[in-house]
Subunit: 787 residues, 2 copies
Amino acid sequence: MEEDLNQSAKETTTYNMEAQESEVENDPESNSLHQPLIKRKQTLSSTPLAMVGAKVSHIESLDYEINENDLFKHDWRSRSKVQVLQYIFLKWTLAFLVGLLTGIIATFINLAVENIAGYKLLSMVRYIEEERYLMGFIFFTGVNFILTMVAAVLCVCFAPTAAGPGIPEIKAYLNGVDTPNMFGATTLIVKIIGSIGAVSAGLDLGKEGPLVHIGSCIASLLGQGGPDNYRIKWCWLRYFNNDRDRRDLITCGASSGVCAAFKAPVGGVLFALEEVATWWRSALLWRTFFSTAVVVVVLRASMEFCNSGNCGLFGQGGLIMFDVSGVTVRYNVMDIIPVTVIGVIGGVLGSLYNYLLHKVLRLYNLINEKGKIYKLLLSLTVSLFTSACLYGLPFLASCTPCDSSHPEYACPTTGQAGNFKQFNCPTGYYNDLATLLLTTNDDAVRNIFSTNTPKEFHIFSLIFFFALYCILGLFTFGIAVPSGLFLPIILMGSAYGRILGIAMESYTNIDQGLYAVLGAASLMAGSMRMTVSLCVIFLELTNNLLLLPITMLVLLIAKTVGDCFNPSIYEIILDLKGLPFLDAHPEPWMRNITIGELADAKPPVVTLNGIEKVGRIVDLLKNTTHNGFPVVDEGPPPVGFAIGATKLHGIILRGHLVLALKKKWFLQEKRRTEEWEVCEKFTSVDLAERQGNVEEVAVTKDEMDMNIDLHPLANRTPYTVMESMSVAKALVLFRQVGLRHLLIVPEYQAAGVSPVVGILTRQDLRANNILNAFPHLAKSKGREKGN
Amino acid sequence: MEEDLNQSAKETTTYNMEAQESEVENDPESNSLHQPLIKRKQTLSSTPLAMVGAKVSHIESLDYEINENDLFKHDWRSRSKVQVLQYIFLKWTLAFLVGLLTGIIATFINLAVENIAGYKLLSMVRYIEEERYLMGFIFFTGVNFILTMVAAVLCVCFAPTAAGPGIPEIKAYLNGVDTPNMFGATTLIVKIIGSIGAVSAGLDLGKEGPLVHIGSCIASLLGQGGPDNYRIKWCWLRYFNNDRDRRDLITCGASSGVCAAFKAPVGGVLFALEEVATWWRSALLWRTFFSTAVVVVVLRASMEFCNSGNCGLFGQGGLIMFDVSGVTVRYNVMDIIPVTVIGVIGGVLGSLYNYLLHKVLRLYNLINEKGKIYKLLLSLTVSLFTSACLYGLPFLASCTPCDSSHPEYACPTTGQAGNFKQFNCPTGYYNDLATLLLTTNDDAVRNIFSTNTPKEFHIFSLIFFFALYCILGLFTFGIAVPSGLFLPIILMGSAYGRILGIAMESYTNIDQGLYAVLGAASLMAGSMRMTVSLCVIFLELTNNLLLLPITMLVLLIAKTVGDCFNPSIYEIILDLKGLPFLDAHPEPWMRNITIGELADAKPPVVTLNGIEKVGRIVDLLKNTTHNGFPVVDEGPPPVGFAIGATKLHGIILRGHLVLALKKKWFLQEKRRTEEWEVCEKFTSVDLAERQGNVEEVAVTKDEMDMNIDLHPLANRTPYTVMESMSVAKALVLFRQVGLRHLLIVPEYQAAGVSPVVGILTRQDLRANNILNAFPHLAKSKGREKGN
């Protein structure tokens, strides 16, 4: 609700998504990748709607700017040295707690998944051994069905925002978009239980994305002192009552989540840096590193505890997933050719995956729109299909005799973990497809990554596996359960790598397991387009530094190839959801338009007087949806200036106006107030709280005629730019400094000129919105980015 | 020469540093750590002087801002798609070449050092074997003396900026400070040869810092198309003729340098990110990663080539320095106590080292100021002292019998590399001090890091070694040869760690070699205060990911402890040199002063009219040292405005004024020019070139009365802030967006008000300068930072 005068809240909720859908479907020529799910109005100020979870919500911006008003200054001056130390201490304590809790919850999730999935698989194996295949199928499918139902019902009924990975929304939050209901206590609990259910159900999804979201939720809850309704009102926490400190804490949470998912502390920090965060500084690097260090210590301690057998079926599973540190990796400079092939194909496949997933998500949205029951049915259908394939396909594979030349591998195995699964084969034989399918996803990855086993998997089994996981990967992601993208892509990629390895067997000496690792890396880079962080995550996963140069090459090639076709998967999801994410790079055509022209295309700016009538304020708040109003003083002019001088005093936020009305900060006469008056009435804690709606405030008729002195509440130092600045340059400023409102000042200095020409918000600077208002710019849009 | 009206260039060069020195020495109470070597004037606009290399130079800022004038816009519009692709292609080609050349030069340096030092040591060993100890001493000392002399003479006579590591200057450059003569071809060549000489001479310094500087030099030279006097005028390169693209390329160069030094590609990228760079974005992360990948491939290829014995004495030395990947690291949660001890002591020692090094550097400056011959003498004295200690001390150590229970270690050895040096001992015995001292520094580190050799070094030998390298580390760094800080600190730290390991032997099972690694890490963190990048560099050095959690802990503790005492060593050097580096964090007291107050403390701003007399411009350029002048138009006002309206058209750079004078862009009448006129006269390449001095331009008397139309040359969209903004907020803006000039606009909008109140530059926002002009702020300075 940034800047929209004419659109009421009612209109927006009755908005019909299907109309938009069918439009797109009717026009096969339109590049639907650039069509957002959320319909936009054809003026500059589009309705700030976005999909959060599966719901359409109103989106606001966060206040990362320091609000330099009189109260802030007073608060700053009165802050003693002890309080500053309190703040620093608290900052580090919270970073510690984020790491600690994320580590504990990650351990809990791993424990639960390994045990539930383990006992499920053991029981199924018993049916198979007794040759009661139908009973086995019913049991397997039934358990998976129930587990999926638990996850889906929780997600659909209690916390729609817990569905999916949550990483795009966190990325948007750290960019300054206030994604609603993302970091609540309900979301956290649903995400934890839902993730356990969905992963144990054998669905083709990971716990990695959800863990990032869980880490961020923990950080957000800690920063605000607990769930919304039961907050601890601890006075120390008041220093954290601002969006800047919460942003830093959530960055810590996100990196702790990645670290807990992959046991990759450096990778976690880099993931947060490269993919998630928009603003970054050295101090934050250090703090996130501290959080991830705590996570590692917690994970290590819990592993030590579980190694003594206290954790049921939880072995070393679910943590270091693919330890290939024991393998001597041999490759020479000539191996650059197969590596290039892996990278190129991986890049193409990754971008193809992005393209198809985008289509599937649009289709799913049509279904999900129809109601909760459809969402549930969709999830359960996917679960049934997955179970049927996982159980049925291994019967198609022929049994392979165990290779007795490798006595170090147990073969065949029947337990929940382990390579060379016996399944329906006689003793001495194993079923290679069952080895990949009838196990947890983590174990499947470990099996397919296994080294020195070049003959273990038949090429047809691998192709079956690859095809199945391509289909599952596309159709599982969009269902209403917590789901990560990492594991499906790793599974697909490792199968593709191993297939390629078998195909190129005669040319190189690279190990099949290494091919699988490189295939997974290339598909990840082709889809997610990360480089350094992926490289470090893979290093920490495989625990083998000798792989570094070869992994780097694959990642660089796959990303380059992928970038030729479409944006990264997270960007696609952000765009689909309509979240107003600001990119780092301005589009080239943004150089050809000034912000003055943008401001002209918008309704005129609404300003307030320094001392304003209560009635006008109530009116404005009720009839506009603006969140910031410039405060302008007209005369008396300072000595030496002509009559008609105006002064830009600052900008006041909607929330602070509502607060002034609530607290009845009214004056009978028109006068400037003193600092002590304001400090008596308001505290800086009041200003930091998100204020309610203006409808909740009761103002009597008499009060309507009274005045409010806005001077002490207004931010004295908003960022300003001249109207002649190009949009490109303004966008860079807006994003770099982390603004919510950017005031446009006139070039001219004269009496009678308004000191503010317009206000820019995040929505105004979005490329799509500008193109809608200025269609002629679209012609020059075809040009490539120059940066 | 940012903003100084009254100070002529002559005054500044006659400035006497000794006076300042003696002042400090006379006042033992003054905290000399905060006293820069460069004297500042007691007004806000201090003289922008700084030490670059060992010379006092005038410092300017770089233009990272996009100069949106008419020519730029014309150039932008006319840029075709092919040219954009050319630009992208060139960007990646240059990144590739930076990596390639850095890799080749690093290999060359390693090769040269290993061979020179190797043959030197072999000959010396022969003298020892023949018991001609005096001849051995004369030979050893003489060779070292000559090698040092070569390095020092080159540095002193040809390129003073090649002395030292160069990292602080690169850091300042990337912050926007135009450090002169840092990236020339002479500097590059002197740095390469000097580094070979100094390292082969056995001085206590490393080639790591110099390699970073070498990488940056290569990047800068490539970006500008060759050395200053012999530039390739290739039209493609014109896109690189701006400070922004050069900055990105130099970042690539710096990370390539670190990568080449430690064979740590990820560590290199992170070092550039954490320590060196000020601005950073994801695209750059990817490009630097590409450069470091190229470096790794080059290093690997050259190692493969050298393994076949083509490179003389060059074995595997100088690259992966301390490969401990074969070691099984065992530690449990209780080992957290010794690890904490290492970290705490390391932090204290590191900050103590910073403190002492600062004192020594000030002392050295006194000596260096006396002339070139003193600089040379100082370097040669250090060389003689080092040689004497290295050769003499091993005679004090007693011979130790070889441990026959470890047949995998050759003992004793006599070659240039290898553990358990025989030196003066009988067969079957080794001299542990000779093992550490009479070898290259890289090999010394490898020997002291060696694992499974708990009894190899006697504790007194280690204490000797530690004490010697503390002294050498303090007194070697400041001499006039290329010198890195990494290796001296690693040597000290590893000795300290191993001593601690022996002291704590009875309490834990941690290996002595691991103690040495952790000691080195703790001292590095205590002195340099990096975290993530150091951690990754150590991982890549030791090639052992299991060390990760324990290394992280040590680094975090040591940095925290160190930060309690003083800033990092690079910050200390930056401060000593007087480079106007802008910190990320504003000081707390900066919230209590507005930029309007700053502007009042400065001389009034000098503005130009849109169409200005040539005479006035020549006058201004000759009599001021400003680098930017606001361009203000006075009437005719636009329709509807009162008479007396003024308009801020933009800001024009000194260089562009000089260019306009040079090109005789003169008009007889006072009129606005058309775009085609400008584009005929100027090209965007002209504007990008650094222009000469105004003194070189000859303007006739007649021409003095003509006019110049400044409109098309002025940057239309300077960043502006209101005078009421606090300095803290303005500083954040200034640094985040990378500005050179920040215009202050008035709050008031009225006829007769000048549209510009003042200009802020980098120098104006430096804490020291503000405190000099506003001493009362210093009182509140004691408060801690709140962010």
